[in-house]
């Protein structure tokens, strides 16, 4: 068997294969719903209704999409330069940690000063956390997949230690959580009375800025060149290690902003369940977006919709909400396969 490139794929191939991937994903979802004894069409209907069936549902989806856009951007930027950052989860918690360290009364400033300060320190914290593995990669050739993955566990334990120690809210009655942010450290709501906050607007802005960096600046060009072919980039005189370190700053920083946005916009304090794996889901979001920063927004809202919709469907129809995880993982695998097959055909012999 071998793969043969297709010089000019037909529109039918370009459209048909991704649609087939979507159909296969839905078919697997339907089979899983049937396995749970539910009517697949009703289940899909309930997921759709729970994700976008009302103003409340739609805003809830956008709320859930906010951290996924940040972590999706973090992964997209890094993977573009083939820096395999699997540690967005830890970088998110690093950003959340600095936000509560500075935002619970340590710094007294009015909101217009305090919020940018908190955002910047969260960005820096996430960046520093990825700079470590990136440095080990360029200096000692240590595989960053494993180091960033292991840092996720270390970071979560570190946060747990602080929440049960110095950062513990004395009024929390034994529950490990940080004190609440001061009012000036809270991101206001975009729509009064509903939970959607300015973090979502910040995520959209981050996507635009990231897109501009990737498409319009020298750094973006170098990142893409290093990702395409590091040897050729080095031969062309690009400082590959420096490009990777700058990529790490941008990527880790974006993931750090996710932590700032969740704490300052949504939760108001730090607990150990701040992120139900937003860092890992960001990888799916980035891949579904084909690593395009603006595509990350679309993919982030889509994936968030599946999760929010599945939560509400699960309450109504009794199908376990883990069906959402299976759907997005299947969508990821079928979509990368379909996109490959739009450009190559399999030949025997």
């Amino acid at each position: 068997m071998r793969l043969e490139p297709i010089a000019a794929p037909t529109p039918a191939r370009l459209l048909g294969l991704p649609l087939a991937a979507l159909a296969l994903t839905l078919a697997i979802g339907a089979a899983l719903a049937a396995l749970a004894g539910a009517n697949p069409l009703a289940v899909f209907g309930l997921i759709l209704k729970g994700a976008a069936g009302s103003r409340f549902a739609l805003l809830e989806t956008l709320n859930r999409a906010t951290p996924l856009i940040f972590t999706g951007l973090a992964v997209a930027v890094a993977f573009r330069a083939r820096l395999w950052n699997i540690g967005a989860e830890a970088q998110l918690y690093a950003g959340a940690l600095t936000t509560v360290l500075l935002g619970t009364g340590a710094v007294a400033a009015p909101a217009p000063l305090l919020l940018p300060l908190l955002a910047l320190t969260a960005f820096a914290a996430g960046a520093v956390l990825l700079l470590g593995p990136a440095f080990l990669k360029v200096r000692f050739g240590v595989d960053e997949v494993v180091t960033t993955l292991l840092l996720n566990f270390i970071m979560l334990l570190f946060v747990s230690m602080l929440l049960e120690g110095p950062l513990k809210d004395p009024l929390s009655l034994g529950w490990p959580q940080s004190p609440a942010l001061v009012p000036d450290a809270r991101l206001p709501r975009l729509v009064s009375g509903l939970r959607l906050h300015w973090g979502f607007a910040l995520a959209l802005a981050a996507a635009l800025v990231t897109w501009a960096i990737m498409a319009r600046t020298t750094l973006g060009f170098e990142m893409r060149a290093v990702g395409e072919n590091p040897a050729a980039a080095a031969f062309a005189g690009m400082p590959v290690p420096r490009v990777l370190l700058r990529t790490a700053i941008l990527s880790g920083g974006l993931a750090g902003l996710a932590g700032f946005s969740e704490v300052a916009g949504l939760k108001g304090n730090l607990t150990l369940d701040l992120s139900p794996g937003f860092g890992y889901t960001g990888i799916i979001v980035a891949m579904l977006a084909m690593l395009h920063p603006l595509g990350v927004v679309v993919a982030g809202v889509f994936v968030a919709g599946v999760f929010v919709g599945a939560d509400s469907m699960s309450r109504a129809a009794g199908v376990p909400s883990y069906i959402a995880d299976i759907l997005v993982a299947t969508a990821l695998l079928t979509m990368v396969a379909a996109l490959k097959l739009t450009r190559f055909r399999i030949r025997s012999g």
């Binding site: 071998r2 292991l150 840092l151 334990l157 990821l332 990368v336 396969a337």
Partner: protein
């Protein structure tokens, strides 16, 4: 010197062998995949699916060894999927591996919730019992199977034509093709078998170490095995040594927690194994020689 006396007790060494066993299975699985040129980041999820399917088979009334076989087959199925996407299709091994981990973890969680919708305490099964041997040797048969797996892996890789072909396919696939062997078949086979071993490692947790299935029970062990393969420089014997060292350290920190637990937060002890893995990677990756074709998809006729 009571902290060092720990090292002299049989219960410490028994714990070392117990903690090492799942790591040994999964590390051998990952090593076989990587020697054939495929990085398998599905390991974490495949261990979860092995832990779940092995436990569920026994919970449903099958004998323990049938549980092990069920886990093996489930792991092989996910490995075959990984292999089909990364070998003939040549998709990114990072993306596919992480996708498999997410898919396998979600599948285990979904199946568990479906089978046991309203349980709060995870049901128990009767796990493997230790063999009637003295001291630290009183281990379950699965631990002895883990050591046997290392011996077989080392023998096959180093001494048989099949092992030579697997190693060659991870170093120079063009040369293997020129010998008239199929790169696709060899890599697919290695990933499938390797993934089966990872799942048996997961099943050790539910069938031998504990007797129930919990959602977070694998808890990064898969990622640690990937570090152990690098630490072992892609050699079964050295990887075994790495797994034993890691397990000794883990068993030691658990005991230190009991004596120093009041002074130092327990999270520090729990962090140490992960930090140690990173440190080991930094020390070893300068010396280790990576299989030359690792992470490089092979396409016939391309150079």
């Amino acid at each position: 010197m009571e902290h060092l006396d720990i090292l002299l007790t049989a219960s410490f060494w028994a714990a070392v062998l117990r903690i090492a066993s799942p790591l040994i299975f999964a590390t051998m699985g990952e090593l076989i995949c990587e020697r054939a040129g495929v990085l398998n980041l599905g390991i974490e999820g495949i261990m979860v699916i092995g832990a779940f399917t092995g436990w569920f088979a026994v919970y449903a009334g099958l004998p323990l060894w049938a549980g092990v076989a069920t886990a093996l087959l489930a792991g092989m199925a996910f490995g075959l999927l990984h292999g089909l996407l990364t070998v003939p299709l040549g998709l990114s091994q990072h993306v596919v591996g992480l996708g498999i981990t997410l898919l396998a973890t979600a599948a285990a969680s979904y199946a568990y919730r479906l089978a046991l919708p309203r349980v709060t305490t995870p049901p128990r099964i009767d796990p493997f019992q230790p063999l009637p041997l003295p001291g630290a040797l009183a281990q379950t048969p699965l631990t002895y199977l883990a050591f046997l797996t290392v011996a077989v892996t080392a023998f096959v890789l180093a001494r048989t034509p099949l092992g030579l072909a697997i190693r060659a396919v991870g170093e120079n696939p063009q040369a293997v093709e020129a010998q008239g062997l199929s790169v696709t078949a060899l890599r697919l086979g290695a990933v499938t078998i390797g993934s089966g071993l990872m799942a048996v490692g997961g099943a050790f947790l539910t069938l031998s170490a504990f007797s129930s299935f919990f959602f977070e029970m694998v808890n990064g062990r898969g990622w640690i095995c990937i570090a152990l393969v690098v630490f072992g420089a892609w050699h079964p014997g050295r990887a075994l040594l790495g797994a034993l060292l890691f397990a000794a350290f883990d068993a030691y920190q658990i005991r230190l927690q009991q004596t120093l637990g009041a002074a130092i937060p327990y999270q520090v002890f729990l962090m140490l194994p992960y930090a140690l893995s990173i440190l080991a990677l930094v020390i070893m990756s300068r010396r280790a020689r990576v299989p030359a074709a690792l992470m490089t998809p092979y396409n016939r006729g391309e150079r």
